[in-house]
Point group: C2
DNA sequence: CTGAAAGCGCTTACAG
DNA sequence: CTGAAAGCGCTTACAG
């Protein structure tokens, strides 16, 4: 395929001039510009971006690190990122980790090798302390809270939001409340658990470990959660789970077994995905797509040398029929 | 950041030798190899991949072109692609098009500029004829059927699969059957429509345009579909829709209005996502993730110079409670 | 406004 | 086994 030298020769100008036309520089006589453009068209020339990247030192590509894309939470987050990235003419590569540390390290190595200009961690397994070691490697941001001041973060105030949901349940008369968490060791789960313990303390209930369900992420997990609930001797009257997929599974399975909702079992979740609306499930709305959009802009700022900053995304209780 | 020259100097060897170590070439004295590795470690050296790509002429990165990632169909497809790509140590960039022609052209231009080594079209708006003009640009494959012999394709035999679903409905006594399609002008929709017309002809029913719902993709679309159904003077007794999201929306809304399913309204869809299992919706199972895996391998073959080939993914009728 | 030349950081025949 | 040198295809001060 043609390269810049051939274009220059064919158009009867210097390589420099071709490059100027390519990059939209001013100071090129209109006549020459036309000639060059014409030649490019005729020879079907396209720049070799590898050379451009080597020369310029960056690639206009960022990396998005996440456990899996098949959860609505993450695919919405990506949508938001993708939207802003497209506007800015920036590409992105996806690094699926399944929360495996080595996959996260792999992504960081890509950053080090300049494969990408920056990284967005949608969620991670690596500890903040460990990630701190990579600080000099290149710019990255987190879509979760961190007290580490060197990290730019965008997050939902999970503790506060979760507490808001718990208080709503309590206000509705519930005292026997179980919760479902996405991961055992995630940051978000940590904050939610804290909110849970605080809320229990506030109403004088004791914390029961068997009322904290873990690894609840999918519809299928929600269905399993119902089985566990129904096998319990002493049953919680309300279950507050991590996302609408879980609540959908739980709700549908419960309905299937003719459980009175919210009479016998109240259900609350987070996200406000379409499915929760169809099913009439009460939920805490989180604007995930917005978070993705902001995440991208935040990374852009870091890439262009701004100091780290912390951003917060708002949430909102959506009352429907399951509480 | 350190470059290969500094490593060479610090290790007391030539640049060539460092490169050999980096690339795992044989013929490097163990002693030197160790020394180089040590130096790399000490200086925290990482290759600048832009230079590697320029030198080698490829980037180990492919592009995945798709309308949106927030539909389960596509996110599963990506999962399959991602899985194989990770095994092969290949990255991928996502190009979301929303079926906009210029976005698809953009992706093809990236290919031309060597930004990616190849392209997987998960679904596209561009016609086969137009895409044919890009044949010389670089390797790409389609995840849909095409009679164009120059394209590698992997596909579900949509016409056959859809007919299988229709025959199942007919066998159950339905004659007034409506269908829902994802897009008006998609290839898949075309095949499904053909199957529909053939099935109607086979039972001597006339084709009614108002019984073909279009743009039915999401849960919300499924709910709308129910409203349309309920407003109809003459109601179809069965609706066969494009995916489990739509059938879920339709089913839930119908249940909400106390419609007897399948007595008053039979529902069938395609995919067999978890949600169809939870709701007990009959569906045609399509192994989308498998398709993604094979799609990646198919592209790999094209990239390494193999001739185009056509692959088919199997399907299976899953009988549950809605028919 | 224009061009010759150095530089980006690798890989890889080629010669030893 | 090893290294000097050419080459990948651009960009960008610098000098005019």
């Amino acid at each position: 395929m043609a390269n810049i030298r051939e274009i220059a020769k064919a158009a009867g100008v210097s390589i420099t001039t071709v490059s100027r036309v390519l990059n939209g520089h001013p100071y090129v006589k209109e006549e020459k510009r036309k000639k060059v453009l014409e030649t490019i068209e005729r020879l079907e020339y396209a720049r070799n971006m590898h050379a451009v990247h080597l020369s310029k030192g960056f690639s206009n590509m960022i990396g998005v690190v996440l456990p899996t894309i098949s959860l609505p939470y993450f695919s919405e987050l990506i949508e938001g990122i993708a939207e802003e990235a497209a506007k800015a003419g920036i590409h992105f590569a996806l690094y699926q980790t399944n929360y495996q540390l080595e996959k996260e390290i792999f992504a960081l190595e890509q950053l080090k090798q300049r494969q990408v200009d920056g990284l967005i961690f949608c969620s991670k397994a690596m500890s903040d302390e460990e990630l701190l070691n990579w600080r000099e490697t290149g710019p990255f941001i987190l879509c979760q809270d961190s007290r580490e001041q060197h990290f730019s973060t965008i997050s939902i105030p999970h503790q506060e939001a979760f507490r808001c949901g718990l208080d709503f349940l309590i206000e509705k008369g519930h005292r026997k409340i179980a919760i479902g968490l996405a991961r055992k060791n995630g940051v978000n789960s940590h904050f939610r658990l804290t909110a849970y313990k605080e809320a229990l303390a506030a109403i004088g209930e004791t914390y029961r470990e068997d009322w904290v369900f873990e690894r609840s992420l999918t519809i299928t997990d929600g269905r399993k959660l119902f089985s566990e609930w129904s096998r319990m001797e002493e049953k919680p009257t309300a279950v507050f789970v991590a996302n609408d997929q879980v609540s959908a599974g739980l709700y549908l399975e419960a309905r299937h077994h003719n459980i009175d909702i919210p009479g016998k079992l109240a259900i609350l979740s987070c996200d406000n995905q379409p499915i929760s609306e169809v099913l009439g499930i009460s939920t805490i709305e989180i604007k995930i797509k917005d978070m993705g959009r902001h995440a991208f802009r935040l990374l852009q700022k870091r890439i262009s040398g701004h100091d780290p900053e912390k951003q917060i995304i708002s949430y909102k209780l959506v009352k429907r029929l399951t509480v």
